[in-house]
């Protein structure tokens, strides 16, 4: 009990410090890119109505990276799907880029958990078809250039004629990320993007993602669903911790006032990092050792 109190105190402190720093150093815009307002999502099932998330309010600023974290089945993916437009809220509204979300749209690029590449199209074609579909106004030559650039960005140009089945998991996910970036959406939505990758690949993918975000002048708003605490801290400006479902709500939003560019090796030794890490752990688990289980 005492430990948690102490933790939250220090966290409040660091959060105040962080906010001041964030506005000065990181220059996050004050414009809201995403506004989730009183959103409730219920599904009809055979056993009756199941409420996945309830009364969620969340604003995400332009250029901000936020993570949604929580246990399996807590509705974090559902929340993200209301932003992508794959799921319509039962109540409340989601506004993205000043427009009320009514369905999926090219202003929001999505990277799916299981890559969702079309297995019968080459790596190049997978990206080209998305570009061709979204950037209707461009000429074929421009579309080809955009596709090639996107592939070059993730260093997959030598593999452009391969089928997705011939690629490793990490490469597949790079194709999926390149595809999402290629249509230059203002918002990027990542649904457990690195969940299926091994730890080493995951680490380099984090850096790659931040590199792409930097190249874009940190203008893209990124929302990521994850269940990996280290990943959430390393990438995000804020971490949204969700309660367990059904009818999940936001438990707490934890600021991550660590300066960018972040260094994977150094960051873990920063006292602030450890504070945030501990705080997230205690939010996600109430039992830390077998002695705590009664």
């Amino acid at each position: 009990m005492a430990l948690t109190d102490q933790l939250s105190e220090t966290l409040v402190e660091s959060r105040i410090n962080g906010k001041a720093k964030a506005t000065s150093a990181q220059n996050i815009s004050t414009v809201n890119s995403i506004e989730v307002k009183d959103v409730t999502v219920s599904f009809k099932t055979k056993k009756g109505i199941y409420t996945a998330i309830k009364d969620i309010n969340l604003n995400v600023k332009k250029g901000e990276i936020i993570s949604l974290i929580g246990h399996s089945g807590c509705g974090k993916s559902t929340l993200m799907n209301t932003i992508s437009g794959m799921v319509n809220p039962t109540q409340g509204t989601v506004t993205a880029n000043d427009k009320i979300v009514k369905g999926p749209g090219p202003d929001r690029g999505i990277v799916f958990q299981n890559y969702s590449l079309l297995p019968w199209l080459s790596v190049y074609k997978n990206i080209y078809e998305a570009v061709d579909s979204v950037l209707v106004a461009k000429s074929p030559a421009e579309k080809k250039e955009i596709t090639t650039n996107a592939l070059a960005m993730v260093n997959l140009l030598p593999h452009k004629d391969k089928l997705p089945g011939q690629l490793s998991g990490g490469m597949k996910q790079r194709v999926a990320i390149a595809r999402a970036f290629a249509i230059s959406p203002k918002i990027l939505l990542l649904d457990e993007p690195f969940g299926a990758l091994d730890a080493l690949t995951k680490g380099s993918m984090h850096i790659e993602l931040l590199k792409l975000w930097n190249l874009d002048n940190r203008n893209k708003t990124i929302v990521m669903v994850t269940h990996d605490i280290e990943e959430a801290i390393f990438l995000s400006d804020r971490v949204v911790v969700m309660n367990n479902g059904p009818a999940a709500t936001i438990k707490e939003i934890v600021d991550v006032p660590l300066e960018r560019p972040r260094n994977k090796k150094d960051i873990v030794h920063a006292p602030k990092y450890m504070e945030i890490h501990d705080r997230l752990l205690s939010l996600l688990f109430d039992k830390f050792s077998i002695n705590d289980i009664h």
């Binding site: 999926p104 969702s116 579909s133």
Partner: protein, 262 residues
């Protein structure tokens, strides 16, 4: 270097000859048991050599070589099968594309599918006023069902992952059909076509027996009238071999389009 003759290939060839020997022995046994009413392999082989010596002779409408008979049957089968597939594939795509169309069309398919080709023949005669048209018609209408059902099943089982790509990147209807629906269903469609060509080849003999003219089915009937059992047995073996070859061809096509295994 890849070896052309592996031990495995050798076993396959040996097994093939083994099964030919079993077939020949059984045949010979049946021939002995029926007191040579049914000719054995040896007299059949003699007749076969005569037939194969000049397979493409043409002595008028009722006397043509075995090669010509076979060619006209294959042509007819592919015409009927082609027409059937041209109906079955689009219908299958439509049927599988939504639950509503599935519910609307499935009962019709289930009712018409088990109908014997012979039952369709009079309708074909009435509609086309010719035996030739009627034969093609019964091949088309009995062989289209496996393709139709497989196509609709393929389309109906497109995973959400693939559908979501279309949604997320705002694919047009046309792009969705050509880049997601059709490629996903293609292996299923080809499996359907493989079953369909089998059915079409099965139907041809019955169709040509009824329609007469020229063709391997007519050849069987004509041999019966001429009481040449050797010729009937030869026809049976040829029909079987061609059926096997057709299946092999479609099997190869299936492998070419199976993106799953790549």
């Amino acid at each position: 270097m890849k070896k052309i003759f592996t031990l495995d290939a050798l076993y396959t060839i040996l097994a093939f000859f083994g099964s030919l020997i079993i077939l020949g022995l059984t045949w010979q046994l049946v021939s002995i048991l029926t007191k040579h009413e049914i000719p054995g392999p040896v007299p059949t082989w003699t007749v076969f050599k005569e037939l194969i010596a000049d397979p493409f002779y043409d002595y008028g409408p009722n006397d043509k070589g075995i090669g010509l008979q076979l060619m006209s049957s294959i042509k007819r089968v592919f015409l009927g099968f082609g027409i059937g597939s041209l109906i079955a594939i689009p219908m299958g795509l439509l049927m599988g594309s939504s639950k509503v169309t599935m519910r609307l069309f499935n009962p019709i398919v289930q009712i018409l599918r088990p109908v014997s080709p012979l039952a369709w023949f009079p309708l074909g005669l009435l509609a086309f006023q010719a035996a030739e048209g009627a034969t093609v018609f019964i091949i088309a209408i009995t062989s289209l069902w496996p393709t139709l059902i497989n196509t609709s099943f393929g389309v109906a089982s497109i995973p959400d992952d693939h559908k979501n790509v279309g949604k997320a990147f705002g694919f047009s209807k046309w792009k969705y059909v050509t880049k997601i629906m059709f490629p996903f269903a293609l292996p299923h469609i080809i499996t359907g076509l493989r079953l369909s060509i089998g059915v079409a080849w099965l139907v041809i003999v019955a169709g040509e027996m009824l329609s007469g003219g020229v063709g391997i089915g007519f050849f069987v009937w004509d041999s019966w009238n001429g009481l040449s059992l050797e010729k009937i047995l030869i026809a049976i073996l040829i029909i079987g071999t061609v059926g096997l070859l057709l299946d092999k061809v479609f099997n190869a096509v299936q492998h070419v389009f199976a993106w799953e295994n790549k």
